[in-house]
């Protein structure tokens, strides 16, 4: 056994990482639902505060009514989605420069987390748009750019699932991760010109926010950013464990 562990370490498998997962196995399902680290508890506290401020503390919007409250979760999801794709971009460049697997695992995790939050942003946006604009969707620059961005990173995830060799997969994904992110400002500008030359049927006119609404939005932005960091950390941990599992399996098959 110790011989195997020695071999595992030499192959880049971290025994401490495996041991950490093992400790959670014997817990009841209630205990497993609760956060296992300080960041998790902080996120939980912020979620409670965000729910309170968005649903109770913030005043009801005069014209839109309660449906406006979705804004406090919509804007932070979109922000966190874009932030995640920025992380994919940086991690992709770092992988190509350093070839450290950690960067690739980070890029893969951030892409998934980003797709998830962008999906939330698109869905909440549609739910808000139907009663407010009278339509589920409008091809406005922000919506369209977000949708294209979502498609780019869904294709990024598909690409990852279609390559076996880990180093190969990392490099191919990094190339797509870099070009996809460069595309964001170009898509945004081209769609904006496309729409401004056409008559604009529906415009998301700027709304004047009450100070308590701004406070609520800030709390929600902080909450979502912390939540994203937390999920990203867990997802990254899982990705690294998968790598370990794969290396261990190869090791055993070799023997």
């Amino acid at each position: 056994m110790s011989e195997h562990q020695g071999a595992a370490v030499s192959h880049g498998v971290d025994p401490a990482r495996i041991a950490r997962r093992g400790s959670a196995a014997g817990q009841s399902w209630v205990a497993r639902l609760l956060p296992s680290d300080p960041l998790g508890w902080l996120v939980l506290a912020f979620i409670v505060a965000a729910l309170f401020s968005a649903l109770i503390y913030a005043p009801t919007e005069a014209t839109m009514g309660d449906v406006q409250r979705i804004f406090y979760f919509h804007v932070p999801s979109a922000w966190v989605g874009f932030l995640s794709f920025g992380i994919v971009f940086v991690a992709s460049i770092q992988w190509l420069r350093t070839k450290r697997p950690w960067w690739d695992a980070l890029a893969a995790s951030a892409a998934e987390v980003g797709v998830m939050f962008t999906t939330v942003a698109l869905v909440t946006g549609s739910i808000w748009a139907k009663p407010t604009w009278g339509t589920w969707w409008d091809w406005d620059p922000r919506l369209t750019t977000t949708l294209i961005l979502w498609l780019v990173y869904v294709s990024y995830a598909m690409l990852r699932s279609m390559v076996e060799n880990p180093a190969k997969r990392a490099s191919l994904a990094a190339v797509v991760g870099i070009l996809g992110f460069i595309d964001v400002p170009v898509v945004f500008m081209s769609i904006r010109w496309w729409r401004t030359i056409h008559p604009v049927v529906i415009s998301g006119a700027g709304m004047d926010l009450d100070p308590s609404m701004v406070t609520t939005l800030m709390i929600c932005l902080t909450t979502f950013t912390l939540l994203q960091l937390h999920i990203l950390r867990l997802r990254l941990h899982l990705e690294l464990q998968r790598d370990d599992a794969r290396r261990l399996r190869d090791l055993i098959l070799e023997d």
């Binding site: 780019v152 294709s155 598909m158 690409l159 076996e164 180093a167 070009l179 595309d183 170009v186 898509v187």
Partner: protein
């Protein structure tokens, strides 16, 4: 520099020679583009009144879908015939391979467009051969091929190969499609818009940005 150009030309020459002998890429691209135009005719009922509204879109969808077909063959042909290793073992920089492949794909697509544009002009009774329209077609094609060549090399390393290329390429090339369709539309419209859109600028910008990005990242596609 001169020797670099020679290396690029050698790769282009190889692709062009192989295409001249088999004639499979350009002819299949042309037939496919033609089919797209014919199918759109049934789908949209391209009658005389609304042709200017739909013609630019039909033209660019035909070009992009047909181009996808050709781009897919670009690296799959190398792989199927066991030439990939040979290509990679050539004593040339990876960027020279990219340049060569890019130029080859560009030549094939321009050849396809040279046949499809007159056919299109005849079907729609539209003036397709103004210098400005040819410039738009050239700029749009360059941008599409610049990203397409890189993603074709990416897709060939995946399990799905042919399926992967459109999925990767279409979202990223949205700006090319928007700008090219708008520029073509403004040009073909019987009532030209009073203010000229920035579409040529978008096309040039896209071409420069994505050619540079693809040129710089291409070498990583072939690293183990």
């Amino acid at each position: 520099m001169n020797s670099y150009l020679n290396k690029v030309l050698a790769i282009v020459g190889k692709d062009v020679t192989s295409e001249l002998r088999s004639r499979e890429v350009i002819s299949s691209m042309f037939v496919f583009a033609l089919l797209v135009i014919v199918i759109f005719n049934f789908a949209f009922e391209l009658r005389v009144e609304n042709k200017e509204a739909v013609a630019p879109g039909v033209l660019w969808v035909a070009i992009i879908f047909a181009g996808m077909l050709g781009l897919n063959r670009s690296f799959i042909n190398e792989k199927d015939r066991g030439c990939m290793e040979g290509l990679l073992l050539c004593p040339v920089d990876r960027s020279a391979i990219y340049m060569g492949k890019l130029a080859g794909n560009l030549i094939f697509m321009l050849a396809m467009e040279a046949i499809i544009l007159p056919v299109f002009a005849a079907f729609f009774n539209l003036p397709m051969f103004t210098p400005r329209l040819l410039l738009i077609v050239l700029l749009g094609t360059v941008g599409f091929v610049a990203v397409g060549t890189l993603f074709s090399a990416v897709a060939v390393h995946t399990r799905a190969q042919e399926i992967m290329l459109p999925i990767l390429l279409l979202p990223v090339t949205v700006p090319v499609l928007v700008a090219a369709v708008k520029a073509t539309g403004d040009l073909l419209s019987s009532t030209p818009p009073t203010t000229e859109g920035p579409w040529l600028g978008v096309l040039v910008g896209f071409d420069v940005i994505f050619f540079t990005a693809a040129f710089l990242t291409f070498e990583y596609v072939f690293q183990e």
